[in-house]
Structure formats: C-alpha cells, structure tokens
C-alpha cells in the first residue's frame, strides 16, 4: 500500500535559499525580528526580511510619516536605519542565530552605496540573501529612480551582482508603466529572484487642516487595498521571467498568500498585516498547511503558477 503522509510539504526554494515554508515577513514591517519575538516563533517562518539598510545611518523623514487610508495605510518613513556598519557590528550578532532565513534589505542613493552595503553584507555568513531595494518611494535620491528605468535597474543589479555572492533578490516598484520589462532587465543583469510589489505612490489630505497628511506630501500605499494590483503584477512577471518570484502586497490571510502562489510566486512576504496582528505570519503558515490538507496537496510547489 502506498504511504500517504498527512503532513504536506511546504518547503520551497528561492535560488540557493531553502525556506521551510513560503511565508516571509516584508522589510520595514517586522523590524529586525526581535520586535515580534514575544508573539512569533521565528522558527516557524520561511524567512524574515529585515529593515532597509543603507551605507550610513539615516534619520528618515519628519513626522507625520503615516496615514491610515481605507483598507490600507500610507507611510513615508524614508529608510530610517542604523546604517550598515552598526548593522554589522551590533544588530547582526543579535539576529544571526535566528532559526530562519534572515534576509537583509539593501538600500541606497547611489550605485556605489548599494555596492558598499552589499559587499559588507556578503561578509556576513549567516545572511543567505539580500533584497535589493530599488523601489523605495520615500527618499529624494536613488530608491525608486533606479527601479523605474530598465537600463538603470540593470546597471545597479549588475554592479551589486559583482560584489555579492549569495542569493540576490531585487525588489520591484509597481510605479511603472511596464513592470515586466524591469523584471526582465534585472533577470538579465544577474538577479536570482525578484520580489514585488513595493508600495504604490499615494497621497492623502487632511481637509480640516487643508494640508497633506504626510510631511513628505506623498508616500507609499500598502495593505489589503493594494492586493489585486500586486497579484496582477506577480502574475505578469511570473509568466515573463525564469527566476523565482516572491509576491507581496496586502497579504493578511492564507487565502491571500495562495492567490500569490497560484499567480506564480514561489514565496510570499507579509507586510502591513503584521501591524494589525503580530501573529499573522504564523497563522498564514498554518493556513497554508490546512489548505494543502483539505485539497490533498502533498507539495505546495504543485500549486505555484497554476493560474
């Protein structure tokens, strides 16, 4: 008689990185993981993507940086972080033993800064991957400008590729006419994976005070309201590239995560939902396992890209 295991396999691979399940947490929504340690056993997650790290310490934008909008929120944090040297000398020692893939989101204003940060992270053996953020809408220089033009995106990815030896994920912005041509350009330039979507550029106005809700006027929209846009873009990109796609944008339930997997994502990231329910990421892992059992799916990879 054939042996049938009740426990479905949730393990996935993103280039050379193996994840025990497809669920990661998105950069900027989970701190360095420590902030959620009281709520989440990190060993139950496929991975965490820690805060965007830049060449030097950044204070970020002025308050107010956040506005709640229908089924979502705008943020304009502006890459506040301790900088790569403090990350390596202080933060890394605290988080390197986490029983999950700790991915560092790498940000910058110039091509040289991206390379400087990536080269420093390359020396940290417990970091299996970086996520190159060429899509932050909240900084004046760099950030999204690299991610909106295929030739600039390719240039920065090729440069970082030459200094980073492990899995290189490139995070894409949805604020483009054709996300497919950006994805193809970074694949061509040596990216191992793409993650999408970063936030959508948005704006909200306080009508009583007659001024923008954010100090920066515009900011990045995230949360359930962006999910259909994100699913569409993941579906488009997954059909156009050979490298694995990581899907994110408004995921707050296992069903949301499944939409992304079926659209072609090999893994997913949970972002804004962490603010609402700090345990949501593990709930989604449990929900995926439950779905597989209910639908007799032995291996979650079997449903990736089935739509």
């Amino acid at each position: 008689m054939e042996h049938i295991s009740n426990e479905p396999s949730l393990q996935v691979r993103v280039a050379s990185m193996t994840l025990r399940n497809p669920v990661m947490t998105a950069s900027g929504t989970f701190g360095y993981g420590e902030e959620y340690a009281d709520f989440v056993d990190l060993g139950h997650l496929g991975g965490i993507v820690v805060k965007g790290t830049t060449g030097s310490r950044r204070e970020g934008n002025a308050y107010p940086r956040m506005a709640e909008t229908p089924s979502g929120m705008l943020n304009a944090v502006g890459l506040q972080n301790v900088g790569v040297e403090a990350f390596c000398s202080e933060v890394y020692d605290r988080i390197k033993h986490f029983d999950t893939n700790v991915v560092v989101n790498v940000s910058g204003s110039t091509l040289e800064e991206y390379c400087q940060v990536a080269a420093r992270i390359d020396a940290l053996s417990a970091i299996p991957a970086i996520e190159l953020n060429i899509s932050c809408p909240n900084v004046k220089q760099g950030g999204m400008t690299f991610g909106t033009r295929p030739e600039m995106a390719a240039e920065v990815v090729a440069a970082v590729r030459s200094v980073f030896s492990r899995t290189l994920i490139v995070k894409l912005t949805p604020n483009v006419t054709n996300v497919v041509e950006i994805a193809q350009a970074v694949e061509e330039a040596g990216a191992d994976s793409v993650s999408l979507i970063n936030t959508l550029l948005g704006m909200a106005i306080d009508v009583e005070r007659r001024r923008p809700m954010l100090s920066t006027i515009t900011g990045g929209l995230s949360g359930p309201c962006v999910k259909p846009v994100a699913v569409r873009m993941v579906w488009q990109v997954a059909h156009a590239v050979k490298i694995p796609v990581i899907g994110l944008g408004g995921i707050s339930t296992a069903a949301d995560a499944l939409e992304f997997l079926m659209a072609g994502a090999r893994a997913v990231q949970v972002g804004t939902a962490n603010f609402v329910d700090p345990t949501v990421s593990v709930r989604i892992v449990d929900g995926l396992a439950d779905y597989c059992r209910r639908h007799h799916i032995a291996d979650i990879n079997d449903i990736v890209g089935i739509v």
């Binding site: 701190g31 902030e35 308050y63 709640e68 944090v77 962490n274 603010f275």
Partner: protein
C-alpha cells in the same frame, strides 16, 4: 515584561466627560507588571474603515480584580466605534506597551490636560503605594472638561486650572499657584504646548521631569518607525522608547 495579545472582556463602560468614556476590561491575566504611563493597542471590532489598532494609555489597573481601565476620547471613526462596544463583548488587546513613568521623586507634581489626565490616575496610585502623596494639577478650557475629581482625590492633593476660571484657578497650568512650589519631580501628559511649557519651566528650575508624548502609531512595537519623535539623539519611537521621555533627551523638542 513580555508583550501579549489577549482577548479582554468589557466588564464596564461609563461616560466620563462629553466625548470621553471609560472601558474596564478583564482578561484573566495577571496585571501586576503593567506600569503607569504604558499603553495598549486595541483592535477596533466590526469596523471596515479602520484597519490599524488604536493606541490607548492605561488609565487604571486593579491588580486584585484583574481589571484594566482605559479612558478614551472620541477623536475619529476608530474611537467612535470603541465608544459603542457593549458590556460583555470582547476586545482584542496587545499589552502592555512602551516605557512608563519612573515613579521617582519625593515631592512630586503630576500635570494633566485633556486625555492627558488618563495615565495620571494609576500613576498617582503608584506614588501612593510608595508613600508619596503627589500634587495633581489638572487643566482644561472650562469646568465641564475637567474629569470627575473624586476619582483622583484619594491619591493626592488636587489642584485645578481652567482657562475661563469656572473651576479652580483661572489660567494655564503653568500659571497655577501650586506650580511654583518646590518639587523634585514633575510628570506631564496632555496637549503638546502644555507639556512643552511645563518641561521648559522644569528645565529652568532644575527639576527632573518626564513627559508622555502622543503620536500616530501603526504597530506599537517599534517596528514600523511611524510614530517617531525628534529627540536629542535623533528619531525615537514613541511606542517603544516612549511614550514617557525624560526631558533631558528632549531639548530640541522643547525649543521648537
């Protein structure tokens, strides 16, 4: 202490002042480690327009009864919905968050205005438990906006300042006669201009002073970096490094 997410039962709901109400919650968890000045993040039930939790400061704790009270001001859709929750219903709460007051000093002044009076009740009780009877100075525009004084009376000497003189002394809290008395510690919570005036005066007089800041928050855990205050050491999260700050770190904030 470990942060927790717990379903609390609403055991009492009472109107307080116009637009203010008090919710008393019971969660079956020991509350002895909750510090005065800490806050909780409450999920707003059955409200499609509101996604994020609402940060609300701890008003009172009854360790023996296992109850936690929140004084809430209706300021928008989230708090309006919270004002309608029924006794017996359940609220999902993340608690207890942030850094509270140090409860330091021997000659202590507690200054509150608006919803800023909320944390002062439990703070005064914690001083009383230490054998210190603080002066409680409550300010507001008019007598109708000053909370039920009987609640505060057992825990300190009560002083009131109103803009229109309808209760207590006329004028700002910093103009009240009790404000000039000698203290070794001042705690303030309320509108930013009030806290800045109190803090500047404390700095000038060389009195230790803590203020409780309020900013819009998303996570409440120090992860999203949305609620930052500009301290002398750079942007700090009000939710994690605050909400209570020693004014020694807020010179830039005081000078603004």
């Amino acid at each position: 202490m470990k942060k927790q997410m717990t379903d609390f039962r609403v055991v009492a709901r009472e109107d307080y002042l116009p637009n203010f109400f008090v919710l008393t919650l019971q969660g079956g968890e020991p509350l002895d480690e909750v510090r005065p000045g800490q806050f909780v993040e409450v999920a707003v039930p059955d409200c499609r327009e509101v996604m994020l939790r609402r940060p609300i400061s701890v008003h009172d704790v009854d360790v023996e009864a296992g109850t936690l009270s929140l004084l809430v001001q209706v300021v928008g859709r989230g708090t309006e919905r919270l004002s309608q929750v029924a006794v017996g219903s359940t609220l999902n709460v993340i608690w207890s968050l942030g850094r509270g007051f140090s409860v330091a000093g021997e000659r202590v002044l507690l200054v509150g205005g608006g919803t800023g009076v909320a944390p002062l009740l439990y703070l005064a009780k914690c001083y009383a438990a230490r054998g210190v009877r603080p002066t409680l100075l409550l300010g507001g525009r008019t007598s109708g906006l000053i909370p039920t004084l009987s609640r505060y009376e057992p825990w300190g000497r009560l002083c009131v300042a109103t803009d229109d003189g309808s209760l207590g002394e006329r004028g700002l809290v910093t103009e009240h006669s009790c404000f000039a008395e000698p203290y070794d510690h001042i705690c303030a919570c309320g509108p930013t201009p009030m806290m800045k005036a109190v803090a500047r005066s404390a700095r000038q007089r060389g009195i230790d002073c803590e203020v409780s800041l309020e900013n819009m928050m998303a996570c409440g855990l120090g992860a999203c970096l949305c609620c930052v205050a500009a301290t002398d050491e750079g942007h700090k999260c009000v939710c994690r490094e605050g909400p209570v700050f020693d004014i020694k770190h807020l010179n830039q904030w005081m000078n603004e």
